[in-house]
């Protein structure tokens, strides 16, 4: 027969220990979050708060998993196709030979972290769209990536000023877990729309929900509206 008093003591001790650990964790988190407080006080040029609701600032890009591509620049091919007059098939050298830009952009992960002020280098999606001659019918863009991953965006989001096909962050190449050698960047949407291990950009007339969008994530993914899930 078990002794009820010892069982009660055990439950009390376990509960007290759990509370203590939780309180410690909360304290550490609050104390270390000056960056978030600072960002919350800032505004973007378009008047929106710099930090979307429900986000916390971190200092380094975090790897969030995914089905990796080869990561080797030698294997890289980017197809720009769909509703275009002149489809493109670029290797890494050809991509780097195009007009390069460096954009400062904040990115926001749907899991709640934001990385602010990154310097992203690459080629604007708008440049590729111009080169390929996107037809007037196109209204959506499907970012295609290794192993069948796709992410869909409206044409206006994909061709926004800071939307890039990017291969460097803060002067450094991406490591394999961050989408090396080349990933998409659509900074004003949740970060899953910025497909890693990019292989293609397809212009389409009708929307095609992508990998995460078919698994319950929001189709549009605006961080300022907290469009996290469907």
């Amino acid at each position: 027969m078990s002794d009820p008093r010892s069982r009660r003591d055990f439950i009390r001790s376990a509960a007290a220990g759990t509370l203590l650990i939780a309180a410690g964790g909360a304290l550490v988190r609050l104390a270390a979050d000056d960056l978030t407080k600072e960002a919350r006080a800032q505004k973007r040029a378009d008047g929106r708060p710099r930090l979307p609701p429900g986000q916390r600032v971190i200092e380094y890009l975090k790897p969030m998993g995914g089905d990796e591509g080869s990561g080797d620049a030698r294997d890289f091919r980017l197809r720009v196709h769909g509703l275009v007059k002149k489809p493109l098939d670029l290797d890494y050298k050809s991509l780097l030979a195009l007009t390069q830009v460096t954009k400062e952009a904040d990115v926001h992960c749907v899991t709640g972290w934001s990385l602010l002020g990154g310097q992203w280098k690459g080629v604007q999606v708008a440049t590729l769209a111009d080169m390929a001659g996107v037809t007037g019918e196109a209204r959506y863009v499907i970012f295609e990536a290794a192993n069948g991953f796709t992410a869909n965006t409206a044409l206006r989001d994909a061709t926004a000023d800071a939307a890039l096909v990017t291969y460097r962050l803060n002067g450094k190449p991406f490591s394999i877990d961050h989408g090396a050698p080349v990933r998409g960047l659509v900074p004003d949407l949740y970060f899953w729309k910025s497909a890693k291990w990019l292989t293609g950009i397809r212009f389409v007339r009708d929307d095609e929900p992508g990998y995460w969008e078919r698994r319950g994530y929001n189709n549009h993914a605006d961080p300022w509206k907290e469009e996290r899930y469907s």
Partner: protein, 206 residues
């Protein structure tokens, strides 16, 4: 009464055998679940190492072999398995997955090694391999359902499901329920973005 005793006996026997089988699966799914659940705080699959250093930029006219030698030596690495140059980049690749990239005067060395056990456990948990594992995982899920439900009835105890049993079962159901109510559930902060042409928001749901 005798019939119930016999059924309880069967429940217990099958519960115990399922429990034995479940040990290995549960270690994989539970440890991987803990690891993946905190993916925003750490990399559950790999130990990552990255360092940067500065060199005198490799001149454009340097041969690939010469460029590779200069960059590899500066990075303290041996001869690479592959050298690739594009624009101002010199990329060295190694068989173990290490990458060394020189961009102008900056060299970035990126290395990683898989975490023991978790790398494989996560691969299974995510069902990255697809194929037969889909059915194995289904079987495990069914087994968990059996363990949960048979656990309610397999030992009658003095009071059966009354009091403590009822309170704990209620707590197990109430915790997720209260959380859904408190957080607003899947409909909370849904935010309806501009619906794509011809499709309503709900038509995107699966």
């Amino acid at each position: 009464m005798i019939e119930w005793k016999r059924w309880r006996g069967w429940l217990r026997a099958v519960h115990r055998d399922c429990g034995y089988i479940a040990v290995g699966f549960t270690l994989i799914y539970a440890l991987s679940g803990l690891a993946i659940n905190h993916i925003k705080d750490w990399d559950p699959n790999f130990h990552q190492r990255e360092r940067t250093l500065t060199i005198t930029p490799v001149p454009d006219e340097a041969s690939d072999a010469e460029a590779a030698k200069r960059v590899a030596e500066a990075a303290g690495m041996g001869a690479p398995d592959d050298v690739y140059r594009a624009g101002d980049e010199v990329r060295l690749a190694y068989a173990d997955g290490s990458q060394v990239t020189a961009v102008g005067e900056q060299v970035t060395v990126q290395q990683r090694s898989p975490r023991f056990f978790l790398r494989v456990a996560n691969w299974l948990h995510y069902n990255r391999g697809k194929k037969a594992w889909t059915y194995v995982a289904d079987l495990y899920a069914v087994m968990l359902l059996y363990l949960a439900i048979s656990g309610l009835f397999m030992i009658k105890g003095r009071l059966g499901l009354k009091w403590r049993g009822a309170a704990l079962v209620t707590a197990g159901i109430a915790v997720p329920l209260v959380y859904v109510l408190w957080s607003g559930g899947p409909e909370a902060k849904k935010g309806l973005g501009p619906a794509p042409s011809g499709l309503s928001q709900t038509e995107h749901e699966r």
